[in-house]
Every structure is written in C-alpha cells, then in structure tokens.
Homo-oligomer: 316 residues x 2
C-alpha cells in the first residue's frame, strides 16, 4: 500500500502535538517531544480519524482527540522504556538515556496530562479507562519476565490491555465523535481491538526476525529481557527434551549473550512457533477486516482496510 | 483546632478511593494504595468539599472530584519518591522500596488514569492543566539540585507549580461544582493558591526542624538531596564569609554525612532564614484568610479558616 497518502493527515496531527508541547522548563518539553520528533507511524491517530470519516464525521471533530491518543501512546512508550531498560526507540536513544530517569518519568507524565488538556470532553473517560488498562497490561508483561509457565490466554489478556485497547479506543472514539450509530461504533471498536492484537503479534514476530536497521531497535531484545511473548510461549510448548531445556534456560536468565539470543531465535524458527504466530496474526487481521466490511462503502473504509494490511505486512 | 471533626468527610473520600482502586493485577493495585492506606491528611479533598459547601453546593456534587484530586496528589508523591530516591513516606517504606521501580511508576500512572475516570466532566481540563504544571514544577525542583544560585522568585514559581496549583485547583473546582459565582470562585482560587504556598513553606520548615517521629521521614532530607528550598536559598543569602562557604559546600555535594546535615541545620537557624520563611508563610496564610473572609459567613467558611490555621501550625 501507499502509506504516504496519509502524510497530510499525519502532518495535521503532528502540528497539533507540536502546538500543545510548548512550555517551560524547556528541558522537560524537549524530553517529552524526543521520540515524537524521531518518527513513529501514527497508526492510532490515523485509525481514529479514519473511523470518524467512515461514519460520515468531519476531521475537525476528531483531530484533537487523535493527537491526544498519540500523546497517551508516547507517554506509555517513555515509561515502558524506563521499566524495560530499553536504550533505543525509533532508531535513536530513548528518553531516559538522554535526559535521565527523573526527567523521563516527568516527560511521560506531562504527555499524559496534555492528552487530557486537548481531548474531547465526550470521550475523556474512555481514554482514562484505556490508560488504566494499559497500566494493568504493562504490569502483567513485567510479571511474566520472572515466570516460565505463562499460558497463551494470559498472554492474550496482557496484549489486549497493553496494546489492543488503545487501538480499540482510537477507533471507538473516532466513531463516537463522528456521530456513528451503535452498530458502526461496535464494528469499528471490534476492528480496533482485533487489529491491535494482530499489531502486537506482528511486533513480537518482528522483534525476533526483523531487519534490525529497519526496526530501529535490536532484534531479540525480548529474549534479552526474558519477555514471554507468544513466540516464546508457543516455542516452549512445541519443543521437546533438550531443545526445550535449552530455550527454557535462555528465557529464564537475564543478560543473555548475543550467541544465546541467536540460539533462542533459531529454536523459535525450528519450533514452528513463528508460523503459529503468523497464523494467529492473520486470523485477527481477518476478523478486523470483516468488521470493517460491515460498514457502508467509503473511501475511509478502504483506507482502514489498507491500514490493516500495512500493519501485518510492515517491516518496522 | 479539632481536626477530627473532618473525619466523616475524610472517610467518605477514602471510601470512594477504595471503591475505584479495585482491580487486577493485585500487585499493581496494592502498590497504588500503599501510601494512601498509610495515612495522609487529605487536605486537598477537604479544601475541595469545603469550597463547594462555602458557595452553597452539595457534597454529592464534588466528592468524586475531591477523591480524584487526592489520586492525582498521590500519583505525584509516588513518582516524586522515585526521582528523589526517598525511602520513606508517611512513616512507612515508599512504594518503589516495596514494589520496585517499575511497579511504582505504573502505580502512579494507574492513579492518574483513575483520577480522570472519576472526576466531574466539567472540570477534567482544569485537573489536566494542574497536572501539567505539577510536572513543570517538579522538573524545576530537580534542576535546582545541581545549582547553588537559585533565586527566591525561581523558588516561588517552582512551589506555585509543584504544590500550590493543586490546592488552588481543589478550591476552584469545589467552588465551580458547587455553582459559585465568579467572585466566589476567584476568592476560593486565591485562597487555595496562597494557602498552598504557605503549606509548602511550612513543609520546608518542618523538613529542617521537625520532630522526626511526627514527620514520618528523616529531618534534613532536603539537605541530603541538595534541594534548594527557601530556607537554603535565604541562608545562603544571609550568611557571610566562612559560614556561607561551609553551607555552600554542604548544599553542593550529594551524600552528606549526618554531621554535615546537622551543621547545615545549625547554619539555617543561625542565619535568620527560618524566621524569614516563617514570616513569608504567615503572610501567605494571611492572604489566604483574607480571601476567605470575602465570602458570605457559613460553617464551611469557618472550617476553611480552621484548616488554614492547621496547615501553618501542624507538626507533620
């Protein structure tokens, strides 16, 4: 697909974000803009705006809230990078690496505050609900690091909260603010939730087998941090005997060597877990597409279909 | 004053907080409640409810928002304790000391999210504005640690944002939700802002000369962290020659010994800075009282006067 056709929309969202993130102390505002300036696909604001259009709404009803959702997303990235001790994000050093932990915590808090300064009053509680769920999901993700018996259904609950809920929310509030009817709101919410799950599984796959340069962060970093993503869970399930033991050892210890990480990736590939995850991702993307196809035909509907296609085919 | 007469109100706020802070993962929700259960004076919700009453409003209009303000306050305490590496709060170990840094960051974020889940829709943007200012104030406070040339007006801007704005907001939204007229809202906002400034100066004084057991945290911890509070700033201004040099040295280095901290406290006392700060505090408390006296006579008006009296006379 031609992602660049969304650039004017992305520019509008970026413009609104740049307007709100002006203030003093300059150091704090620079920290809060650090990874926003560095890039990002703006998937969530795009979904929000396209959902609004798909129900016949006007961009003006939703731009502020779309920007607010990107601020919430960025706030969670900055805090997650601190917790996960991630040194890189979007190809540059992460916020805490440049500005220190204290300013990074505050930069996240500032973005969160600003999200509520600009979002529409009809949807602020939905955004607050989503934010609370993101915290719950991130806590689950962290707690999984110390475990080796995480089950697929726990993983699904974790990514639903940590990732999918915000994409669901983006689509839902877009439809709400565009004055969609009950069925349209339900279809778009369901689209957001399912494409969000597909998005996270794709992220997990990319984290294991992507081209590092395109990805903007080290491949295998989930293994390094003992994350229990779906690939790890299914590999442990599919492998037997010595291979399982070896993978279990790597996924139980912090500070794995580069060789151990590569060994784990080889075991992932051997186990069949990557095919399993790809199939899962495609199933959720298919559910997302089906929800969209329930909507009236429109340019925005086609755009959402293209966007869901991009999400599962992207290399970064 | 008899603070215990506010207990029924405090119980109502606590009840609402306990209701909202139920969820999974349990570890995260326990972390978010940790210092709320340990105590706290609930000054901000009290101001909010009393402001509402003082303009003739009903408690039911404002309880949820009063609880939301306490959640925002607690969120900032948890994140501040991480940044300041404070080990104790309200006489018990701080959240990050018990639950680790990651869960403590998330516990703060969860409280922040929940504040917006329960606050009144007419005031959520005011709370968001206040939250952004608190972040700005905290960033200033941190940046002062590395400086020895902080001026009184910079300090005043810092505490206005970091502390006073939330008390101002508590009073303002109480008056707004109680349907106060423009003048009442202005008087109550001004009360909140000025009593907030007095509150922080009192905190600084207590931090230097309080009874440690009543305070719930170590005396002199601001010196240990090289904080530039008003006592430090004015002591550096008032002292001359060797005494100034000695204080400057202590306030420039991290990890001071217990003896150095005691020396600094002695220098604070000698310099006349504590009297200066006490006078400043009294001036702001007086301005706060005058704003209140502009309101119609009522039980709530008397309560607010008592509360402001408590704030400057408290020993913890």
């Amino acid at each position: 697909m031609n992602f660049s056709r969304f650039q004017p929309l992305i520019d509008e969202v970026n413009g609104r974000i740049n307007e709100i993130l002006i203030g003093r102390p300059e150091n704090l505002y620079n920290a809060s803009k650090h990874i926003i300036i560095a890039g990002g696909k703006r998937i969530r604001p795009l979904i929000c705006i396209l959902a609004c259009r798909a129900v016949g709404g006007d961009d003006r009803d939703v731009i502020e809230t779309a920007a607010a959702i990107e601020l919430i997303h960025t706030f969670t990235l900055i805090h997650d990078d601190i917790m996960d001790e991630d040194e890189f994000r979007r190809g540059i050093k992460s916020v805490h690496e440049i500005y220190g932990h204290s300013t990074a915590i505050l930069a996240g808090d500032l973005l969160f505050s600003n999200a509520f300064k600009i979002c529409h009053r009809d949807v602020f509680k939905i955004l607050a609900d989503a934010s609370a769920m993101i915290c719950e999901g991130q806590e689950m993700d962290i707690s999984f690091e110390k475990r080796t018996d995480v089950k697929e259904d726990e993983y699904m609950e974790m990514i639903r909260k940590k990732t999918a809920v915000l994409l669901e929310t983006a689509a839902k509030v877009g439809a709400l603010l565009g004055n969609g009817d009950k069925e349209e709101i339900e279809n778009l919410s369901s689209f957001g939730l399912n494409i969000g799950i597909a998005f996270q599984i794709k992220d997990d796959i990319l984290g294991a087998i992507a081209d590092e340069k395109k990805l903007g962060k080290p491949v295998g970093s989930d293994i390094y941090k003992c994350k229990k993503n779906l690939i790890a869970i299914k590999s442990l399930e599919f492998l037997k005997n010595d291979k399982r033991k070896k993978l279990l050892r790597i996924l139980s210890q912090r500070n794995n060597t580069k060789k151990e990480i590569n060994d784990a990736i080889e075991l992932f590939k051997e186990s069949g877990a990557i095919e399993y995850c790809t199939q899962m991702m495609n199933n959720y993307a298919e559910m997302a597409r089906n929800s969209i196809l329930n909507l009236k035909k429109s340019k925005a509907r086609d755009d959402l279909l293209d966007l869901s296609d991009f999400i599962i085919k992207r290399e970064f």
